[in-house]
Symmetry: C2
Amino acid sequence: MVERSLAGDVTNRLLGGMDPELQRIIIAEGTRTRLRPAQVLYRTGEPAEFLYLLVKGRVQLSRPSRAGREVLFSVLGAGDVLGLVCLLTRRAAYMGTAKTIDTGDALAWDRTTLHRLSRGAPQLVANALTVALGFVAQFADRHEALVEGTAAERLARALSHLGTHGAVSLATGIEIRIKNDELAGLADVSAFTTSRVLQQWERDGAIKKGRGVIRIMNPDGLLPH
Amino acid sequence: MVERSLAGDVTNRLLGGMDPELQRIIIAEGTRTRLRPAQVLYRTGEPAEFLYLLVKGRVQLSRPSRAGREVLFSVLGAGDVLGLVCLLTRRAAYMGTAKTIDTGDALAWDRTTLHRLSRGAPQLVANALTVALGFVAQFADRHEALVEGTAAERLARALSHLGTHGAVSLATGIEIRIKNDELAGLADVSAFTTSRVLQQWERDGAIKKGRGVIRIMNPDGLLPH
DNA sequence: CGCGATCATTGCTCTGGCGCAACGACGGCG
DNA sequence: CGCCGTCGTTGCGCCAGAGCAATGATCGCG
């Protein structure tokens, strides 16, 4: 069942470190939701009604800019939490737009339930704080890179971050399933420049490219350029 | 006393919404610290031992980059909280360097005390979550502006943010006490460009400048350029 | 009040990388 | 198997804004 797989999963960021029995109760109160590709869970500025725990699949966190484009904030995977603002006592608005990439599964809780649960499980809020500070750290790193680094450096960072975080590691390098312009968005670089830099890295033998796939053969080869 | 002034201060982000008696207890457990100008409270990467509640004065949050320069993250004022990572169950490192700007006062708690207190006061963690998410929101806004906006737009943002957040409002515009290059750092713009843009705004009558002081006369005048 | 230090201004040069346009490559669907 | 939509590549022009160097304006200290 979902309950068992989740309760046993210590890598999920919301319920970790809690009494298993409490975990079971909380999970039982959540609503399981099946996610279709390109489904929008919520939009920027909407009043936050649900908090999601991503069980399977990937979700893109972004924000529309007045220029019509989307600024990509993050790509989340299994075990990650969406819609933290929902936990706040004061009603708040979502800070970004959450759109699924693949198919997947999520557990959702509404504000009312969440507040009731958190009263009996302070660890829930503590975990949320950990997640939130994780976001802060990520933004801080990215901001520093954006202000001080070159496009290539940012791409290298984004790639190695993806490499350690959500990908399958093989004997033949680390395989990352990401489209060229998604990577571009995560590194705050134009798709054009991304293509050029990746090309250079492939010539250097640091990576191998395919359509929607990048394999890192030699992580150290990313630094010099 | 310090206790009274703080307990009565609903604008502080750490103890707000809590039972006054509980506030009193928590404050009594904290250590009052006098802050001298340019004093470093903690550095990036140091294991987080103390959490600070800023009572008076301003503190600069930044991070050194390998290029030797400092990337300015934020300027905090009275009521703001520093060193949130200290509240995490797992030992963590400070994410930035905190350096005072003016003289001031702070209350400090060490990790052990903090954990003991937070067990009896879950609201403490909830408040911390609010603060953390505030940081996330700030980073998200700034990131969007940095990626999509021009230098002038970023300066306008930074200025109006400072204007609403920590400054004294007068009949003759909003007075902001900030040095040119601090503003530059907050807007991620070079000091040179900052000077030029401010000059233009002064010619347009949108602001008035002095050494270390900017007065916003007409906030709408910042947008067109 | 004079001097050094800090802060601000200004003209100029130079460049990273964005954006356009156009083309090429791949993959899925009928 | 051929067509079309998505994804990736390349050449090129262009410009916002960083960085340098030099000067000017203020402040604070003795």
